[in-house]
Structure formats: structure tokens, C-alpha cells
């Protein structure tokens, strides 16, 4: 399948889009990137905005396929990304690093943003201390698969959980869908906070490109605040304080005697009234005077 055909299948109208593009002389992903968005929109029969998005997807696919051809070493050796978005993100990070020499300097800052698609498996995933992969630690992970993965640089459970599935599949020869399943199992088996995070690392993850470029709204408080913080918390008077029915009233309340039971109606029997105490409105159950007692049973 031609990469342009792949792009048309993924983000276009399949063979119809492919035929129109080829008839117009746009026969490769490079030509897609170089085409004017207005002209491309006419060919795709979409809006200019959709045509720009098509170009971005074509660019990403082109990078992905180029990475597959050049190999992981060539991809790692790239110093200056050509994508203006990536350049902008890198400049922003460098500027932030220069302005804020915080204790986060001890943590190695990422040299380049995490690629969204494609890219080789990260080497540090194998270098970090973690649970080593061995046959049988995951369902479907046998010794030969472990060997193939270790050849591709994935030697730990953490590395397997974080590696790029497609690139690792290409490098190791493990089928893609099988690797996806193993990755899912590896993620499940890891704790919520991975143990491989070095001490002193900031608790929040590194900002993504979207977070850096798009102004995000102010974060919502984790718990809704009911009253301003500077106001004192009001306290209820002692006699109105509520108590839990399990504990019972702290002091016996005085009230009229129940004519039927011959005891104080306010003294709640836990078997009869487990939901609330005296004077307490019962939640979830309507208190009707005609209701039969619960202990009466169906044959009463």
C-alpha cells in the first residue's frame, strides 16, 4: 500500500480521495505537505481547516514512515526538528528551564517531547530499574517473546508498558496486536505510581505540548468549598448536635411514655429503628403512622 493511499484510507474518503489527488498530480506525502491548503481543500472537497488537518496527519504519517525506514538510531540522532510546533515546544521548555532553575534540575529534563505517534522504544525504559521480564510473568508472554523484546530494548515490565507498540513490534517481530495485549497486561500489573520515578522528581508530570501552547483554564478546586476560608466554621449548640444511631444518645432524653410499648418512645430500639434516632427524620423511608411495624412479618 502506498503511503499516500494509507493516508487517504485513514483520514480521507479512501480510493475516491486517492484518485482525485493522483489525478491532480499530488502523488506523495511530500506533495501533500507542500500543497496549498486552499487547493488541497478543493481536491478533498472539504474545508480549508480540514485540509490543514489532513496535511498535519500526512506530516505525522510521513515522519512515522520515515522513522521506520531510517531506523531508531537515525531517529534518535535528529537534533533540529523541522516541525514548527515541535520547535516552539522545545524553545518554550528551554526558556522555562533557563528562567526557573528549580530543584527539578536534578531530574533530567526531557530533551525532546514525547512523540505522539511512532518513534522507537525509549532506551531509558530498559535502563531504568524495574521488574525484569521473564517468561510467564504475563499471560501469553513466553521465553521467545521475551528474547525478541529484549533485543528490541524492552527488558522490563515498565519498559513494556511505556514503549511504543508499533515501533517495538517492528523492531522485535512480535505481532502488533499481541504486543498491544501484552502492553495492556503490563500496565495492569504495574502499581498506580511506578516505582521507577526517581526521588525528588516533581509530582506533576512534564507539561505536554498542548498544555504549553493552549492556555488552559484555571484548575478547579478538588473539593467544592462551601464557605469562604476566612470565615470561622459555625458550631452547633450542644443540644442540637446530632449523633449516630449506633452510638445512641449521649444523654437519655426525657419524653412521654409510649402507651403500647410501655417505654419511652424516644428511646430507639436498634432492631425497630436502625436508621435514625429520636426526633431524627428518617431518610429514605416515609414515616407514616399507619405503617405496620417491620418486625410483624407478612403473616401478622
Amino acid at each position: 500500500m502506498d503511503p499516500l493511499a494509507l493516508l487517504c484510507n485513514l483520514y480521507g474518503d479512501g480510493p475516491a480521495t486517492l484518485r482525485r489527488l493522483r489525478e491532480a498530480g499530488v502523488g506523495s506525502l511530500e506533495a501533500i505537505e507542500e500543497a496549498e491548503p486552499e487547493r488541497l481543500a478543493g481536491l478533498l472537497r472539504t474545508s480549508v481547516r480540514s485540509a490543514r488537518r489532513f496535511q498535519v496527519e500526512g506530516h505525522l504519517l510521513h515522519e512515522r514512515t520515515a522513522a521506520a525506514v531510517e531506523g531508531p538510531s537515525a531517529q534518535r540522532g535528529k537534533e533540529a526538528p523541522t516541525d514548527p510546533l515541535l520547535r516552539k515546544v522545545l524553545e518554550t521548555w528551554r526558556r522555562m528551564d533557563a528562567e526557573d532553575p528549580s530543584p527539578a534540575d536534578e531530574v533530567p529534563a526531557p530533551a525532546e517531547p514525547r512523540p505522539e505517534v511512532g518513534g522507537p522504544p525509549r532506551e531509558e525504559s530498559a535502563a531504568l530499574p524495574g521488574t525484569p521480564l521473564d517468561g510467564g510473568c504475563l499471560d501469553g508472554l513466553d521465553a521467545s517473546t521475551v528474547r525478541c523484546l529484549s533485543k528490541a530494548g524492552v527488558a522490563t515490565l515498565e519498559g513494556l508498558a511505556r514503549c511504543d507498540a508499533l515501533a517495538t513490534s517492528r523492531a522485535s517481530g512480535v505481532p502488533y496486536t499481541h504486543l498491544l495485549r501484552l502492553q495492556l497486561l503490563a500496565r495492569r500489573s504495574l502499581p498506580v505510581r511506578p516505582a521507577s520515578v526517581p526521588e525528588g522528581a516533581p509530582s506533576s508530570p512534564a507539561p505536554s505540548a498542548r498544555e504549553l501552547l493552549v492556555p488552559s483554564p484555571p484548575p478547579l478546586p478538588s473539593r467544592p468549598r462551601l464557605r469562604p476560608a476566612h470565615l470561622p466554621v459555625p458550631t452547633l449548640p450542644q443540644e442540637e448536635q446530632r449523633f449516630s444511631p449506633a452510638e445512641g444518645p449521649s444523654e437519655p432524653l426525657q419524653g412521654p411514655l409510649d402507651p403500647i410499648l410501655g417505654r419511652q418512645a424516644t428511646q430507639a430500639d436498634p432492631a425497630d429503628d436502625p436508621a435514625g434516632g429520636p426526633g431524627e427524620p428518617q431518610l429514605g423511608r416515609a414515616s407514616k403512622p399507619d405503617d405496620p411495624p417491620e418486625s410483624a412479618g407478612p403473616f401478622a
Binding site: M1, L61, S144, L166, S169, T177
Partner: protein
């Protein structure tokens, strides 16, 4: 005549659907197409609106030596059909006692070689049976039909290994192409699987990925190709593009059927050494191999 055998050991991946609608699309492009239903479930026969058990079919051709011309039927969409029946399953058992049973279809189709441009063989969902072996022995192109779903690559590699084994044992020569079906571009998983298929198979993968379309199911229920039911739907457009690709195929290994093939009683054009698969597939046909395949682009 070029014979395309649509194979995969997995059921429900679109072999029968692709055979019917690709055949109809080829007919619309002016080709003469014969559809051979080798599946004992006879879904291609039913999908073209033909009745089963109403005359001689593939079973009689293979098991009893009935001439294929007598079993031919005209079907919807301008196709000609060699129908299947439930008795076709018996041929699998009877073939164990026959001599070179996997060559019978090629010999049977040879007299029709000058009357048709394409023969599409719809195979049963197993690769190691004698029916699929017949289809591969007659094939000039083995089309591996792969659904863009879970375990697609794994199943495709396993099927390719079996196809390679079959070609090695029989000494058959055919080209291999991969067709992605049931593609739904709205789901990220399908998109990733298609990218993975492209990375693995490269130029062997057809440019057209057949998209999922409800019209295909409706057409099957109506007993006609989708080109007759909804000629403007996306499935019809996909199969039209696929037919154009099939017509533009350049064979590198497969040898078209010719009438002389009918005279050979033994294995046809037995090569001195087993026919090698294309170099791109040599490292991928065995799932246990770990060497990465360099993408074709």
C-alpha cells in the same frame, strides 16, 4: 485466465463478501469472471441468489470428474458461478485416498481458461484442507483477506506460513497479495492495525482497504452484488477501486491458467525446487522469526 484465491483460516474476515463484490466489480469493468465457491457452507452461492443442491456443483466436478462447463450457472451481477453444496465437505475426507487431489480444480478450470478472464476462488476458513490446496494450486494470486481487527497481524502471519508450506509441498507458483477488509476509520484501533499492516506488508497490501458498510450485508441478504443494490455506496466504490488494482496487477511469480493444464495428470509444472515466496515475505511468513521486515516505502 488469472485465478485469484481468497484465503484465510479465520472465518468472518470477508472472503466471501470480497469474492462476490470484487467479481461483480470486475464484470462492470468489462471482464468475464467465474466465481468458484469452495466453501461447504455455500455462502457465496447463497449470496448470489442461487439455490444449492439444484444441480451439479464443485463437489461433482472435483469428486466425480464432471466437466466444469456442465456445472456452470449464471448468477447475479453478470457473474458465472460454480456452486458449492454441503456435500463438498465429503470431498475433504474422500480426498485422503485419492492421488494428487489438490490438482483437480486446476485441471477442471483449464478448459475454461479461454472463456474467462478471472476466476475467483472463495476458500473455506481453513488453510490446511484439500479444498484450499486446490484453490492454491489453481491460483495465480493468493489474496490473503485480513480483517483490520484484533489479532489481524498474527492471523495473517500464521496464514501466510501455511500458504508458504502449501506452496512448498505442492510446488505451486503464485503471487501473494493482502487485502484489508472491514476497515472502520473512525476507530483508532482499526487505523493502527492498518498502519501496522502497511508497515509489515508494504506494496503487497492492496491500496484499497474495504470499508465496513451495511450495504454489503443488505446486498448479501438480497442475493445480489452491492453494485446492483447501491452502486454509489462506499463499498461499491471500494470494490471498483480494488478491481482496477486487480486488473493492473503485474504477476511476478504466478502463471495464468491455460488450456494445456488440463492434459497434465500429475502435479502441474513441478519445479525443480519449491517455488520461493517473494523476498518481502520470506522473513514474515514464519511467525517465529523475529527479523523485522523493512517496510517497502
Amino acid at each position: 485466465m488469472q485465478a485469484l484465491s481468497l484465503v484465510n483460516q479465520k472465518g468472518g474476515c470477508g472472503k466471501t463478501t470480497s469474492a462476490i463484490h470484487l467479481g461483480a466489480a470486475l464484470v462492470r469493468r468489462g471482464a468475464r469472471v467465474l466465481l468458484v465457491d469452495l466453501d461447504p457452507q455455500a455462502h457465496a452461492t447463497l449470496g448470489l441468489g442461487c439455490e444449492i443442491e439444484s444441480g451439479p456443483g464443485v463437489h461433482e466436478v472435483l469428486a466425480h470428474g464432471v466437466p466444469a462447463r456442465e456445472a456452470l450457472r449464471e448468477a447475479a451481477g453478470g457473474l458465472f458461478l460454480l456452486p458449492a453444496s454441503a456435500r463438498l465437505g465429503e470431498f475433504e475426507e474422500a480426498a485422503t485416498q485419492a492421488l494428487a487431489p489438490e490438482r483437480r480444480l486446476r485441471r477442471a478450470l483449464a478448459p475454461l481458461a479461454s472463456e474467462f478472464d478471472y476466476a475467483l476462488c472463495d476458500c473455506p476458513p481453513r488453510v490446511d484442507g484439500v479444498l484450499t490446496a486446490n484453490a492454491l494450486a489453481a491460483a495465480t494470486v493468493a489474496v490473503l483477506v485480513v480483517e483490520t481487527g484484533a489479532f489481524a497481524l498474527q492471523g495473517a502471519l500464521r496464514a501466510l506460513a501455511l500458504v508458504e508450506e502449501s506452496a512448498r509441498v505442492q510446488g505451486s507458483r503464485f503471487d501473494v497479495r493482502v487485502l484489508a477488509t472491514l476497515f472502520d476509520r473512525r476507530t483508532r484501533f482499526d487505523r493502527e492495525v492498518l498502519v501496522a499492516l502497511q508497515a509489515r506488508f508494504g506494496s503487497l497490501l492492496f491500496d484499497t482497504a474495504v470499508r465496513r458498510d451495511v450495504r454489503l450485508r443488505e446486498a448479501t441478504a438480497c442475493g445480489c452484488p452491492v453494485q446492483e443494490l447501491a452502486p454509489r455506496c462506499r463499498a461499491a466504490l471500494d470494490f471498483a477501486a480494488l478491481a482496477a488494482e486487480v486488473q493492473a496487477l503485474r504477476l511476478s511469480n504466478g502463471r495464468p491458467l491455460c488450456p494445456d493444464d488440463a492434459k497434465q495428470s500429475g502435479p502441474v509444472d513441478e519445479p525443480a525446487c519449491p517455488a520461493p515466496l517473494p523476498a518481502e515475505l520470506a522473513s514474515t511468513a514464519r511467525p517465529d522469526r523475529c527479523a523485522p521486515l523493512r517496510p517497502a516505502f
